[in-house]
């Protein structure tokens, strides 16, 4: 990867333990502008912990994280607010607010980002545009429980997109979905990156997904970034520990 590209996320020597359980043991990782970075790794290696450190849901024990040139360890509440409108997070289960309709779900993030958008009088066009981009404009007045799992994930993606973030973090976007729906989601992620020029970190176990979507793949093992390269590099690697992930 050529290093002349603008770095949007810089993770340096990140450590995190829960009691005696050392999850992250010095992770170093860069995300470049307009890039799709796929993070793979065994269940429980701390992939979710890693991206939760990037949005302040988990505070790391040691190490530095910079996002869009801002260091996370001394941010004021206001800076956090500003940063959060630039970093989208797609939760593994979608995490739609189930007491609110789809429309209210999408309006929710808009209420708190006046600095970015100014005062929005009518949110409907924005909500519709976001729903159309995931192909679910007809669900606007439904409740989350009336949607299927795949639809919920797409609505959740729409909710992430509505703030027009520069960076999106996807936590296993295709896990638990049938092959067709997962392909739809993968295409959607590709489309989002194309139209908005977003940079993404995508956590996945899904080889097909990684193959289609990745510009670069990082393998997390034993709490460190074990190796990185293009999908084909890793796919054809001789190292047995890497090959184990790409069982053919």
């Amino acid at each position: 990867m050529d290093n002349s590209r603008e770095t949007v996320v810089e993770i340096k020597n990140l450590y995190k333990s829960f009691g005696d359980h050392h999850v992250l043991n010095g992770v170093n990782l860069n995300l470049y502008k307009s890039e799709n970075l796929v993070v793979m790794g065994k269940s429980g290696t701390g992939k979710s912990v890693l991206i939760k450190c990037l949005v302040g849901l988990i505070t790391p024990d040691k190490g530095d994280v910079s996002i869009l040139g801002k260091k996370l360890n001394h941010l004021t509440t206001k800076d956090w607010d500003a940063l959060r409108s630039e970093v989208g997070f797609l939760f593994q289960g979608g995490a739609l607010y189930d007491s609110m309709s789809v429309r209210e779900n999408l309006e929710f993030p808009l209420r708190h980002h006046r600095e970015k958008f100014g005062v929005i009088k009518d949110t409907t066009p924005r909500v519709m545009a976001a729903l159309e981009s995931v192909g679910l404009a007809n669900t606007i007045d439904l409740m989350p429980k009336e949607l299927s799992g795949g639809m919920q994930k797409r609505v959740a993606l729409a909710r992430t997109l509505i703030l027009e973030p520069k960076i999106i973090l996807y936590d296993e976007p295709t896990t638990g979905l049938d092959p067709i729906t997962s392909r739809e989601i993968v295409e959607l992620i590709g489309k989002v990156q194309h139209t908005y020029g977003t940079s993404s970190i995508i956590i996945t176990h899904d080889i097909d997904c990684a193959k289609v979507i990745s510009d670069r793949v990082v393998l997390l093992l034993d709490g460190i970034n074990y190796t990185e390269g293009s999908f084909n590099d890793l796919y054809n690697a001789k190292d047995p520990r890497i090959a184990a992930f790409f069982k053919k």
């Binding site: 939760k52 949005v55 970093v87 289960g93 607010y97 007491s99 703030l163």
Partner: protein, 260 residues
């Protein structure tokens, strides 16, 4: 020996729990006075709190009024003191039974409801999603709920009291000579302002405790569906215990206050 050890750890865990809860309460007051206030969610919660428990409070209040009067009548007759009935009923309901029983019913209904709701939101990462989207979940979920239970509880208590008095009046009307009008007149001529004030203050604290414990248990809910059930369940238990404790302290304080 093992049993002794168990009780000891249980006891210390209760103290730890109280410590955590008071930290949670401190955070509530801190966030309460910071901008912005989630007005819409607050009003929605007020409606929910009232709506959730109105029927239950009405029925329990009414029955308590009936039963109390029925039970007391033979005893008072024995001492030739039936004329004291409005006195006894009025004071015991307004001062003690109304607030405590309404609060207990609400602990079962509201604290568990809040515990389960927020717990489910924690488990399905909805609280994290809020945080990531720039909304302070503590302010949006906890502050609004605790404030609404605190403010709605005195109203629910007043409602429960009213129905208890009506229940009592019905029995007296059946049994003897007192018309509704006469009975209520007597009750209200006996009651003083100083009977209502402690009850209202107590109810505010009860409401605060119910909302706070429900939110606390939900907010720190353990992962998994078991966690949600546990959060709802322990919210009721902990809230009920706290209610009795508050009641004891309140009665103690008011006695000191009013006898001097």
């Amino acid at each position: 020996m093992a049993y002794h050890f168990q009780t000891k750890t249980k006891l210390s865990s209760i103290f730890i729990e109280f410590g955590d809860l008071s930290y949670f309460a401190t955070r509530f007051f801190k966030e309460l006075f910071s901008f912005p206030f989630e007005k819409k969610e607050f009003l929605k919660q007020c409606y929910q709190v009232g709506n959730r428990s109105l029927q239950l409070v009405a029925i329990t209040g009414f029955i308590i009024g009936l039963v109390l009067t029925l039970q007391a009548r033979p005893v008072l007759e024995e001492f030739g003191a039936v004329s004291m009935m409005p006195n006894m009923v009025g004071i015991s309901i307004i001062r003690e039974l109304g607030p405590v029983i309404t609060a207990l019913v609400c602990a079962g209904r509201i604290a568990s409801g809040i515990g389960a709701e927020i717990g489910a939101m924690r488990v399905t990462e909805q609280i994290d999603a809020m945080e990531v989207s720039g909304t302070n979940p503590f302010k949006y979920l906890v502050v609004t709920r605790v404030l609404s239970t605190t403010l709605m509880m005195p109203m629910l208590v007043a409602f429960g009291d009213a129905l208890a008095l009506i229940g009592s009046a019905i029995i007296e009307n059946f049994n003897g000579d007192a018309s509704f009008m006469l009975y209520f007149n007597e009750i209200f001529s006996i009651l003083e302002f100083s009977d209502f004030i402690p009850a209202i203050i107590k109810s505010l604290f009860f409401g605060f405790a119910i909302g706070l414990v429900g939110c606390y248990k939900g907010f720190y809910c353990e992962k998994g569906t078991v966690g949600v059930g546990l959060a709802a369940n322990s919210a009721v238990v902990f809230a009920s215990l706290l209610l009795f404790f508050i009641d004891f302290v309140a009665v103690f304080m008011f006695n000191i206050f009013y006898t001097n």
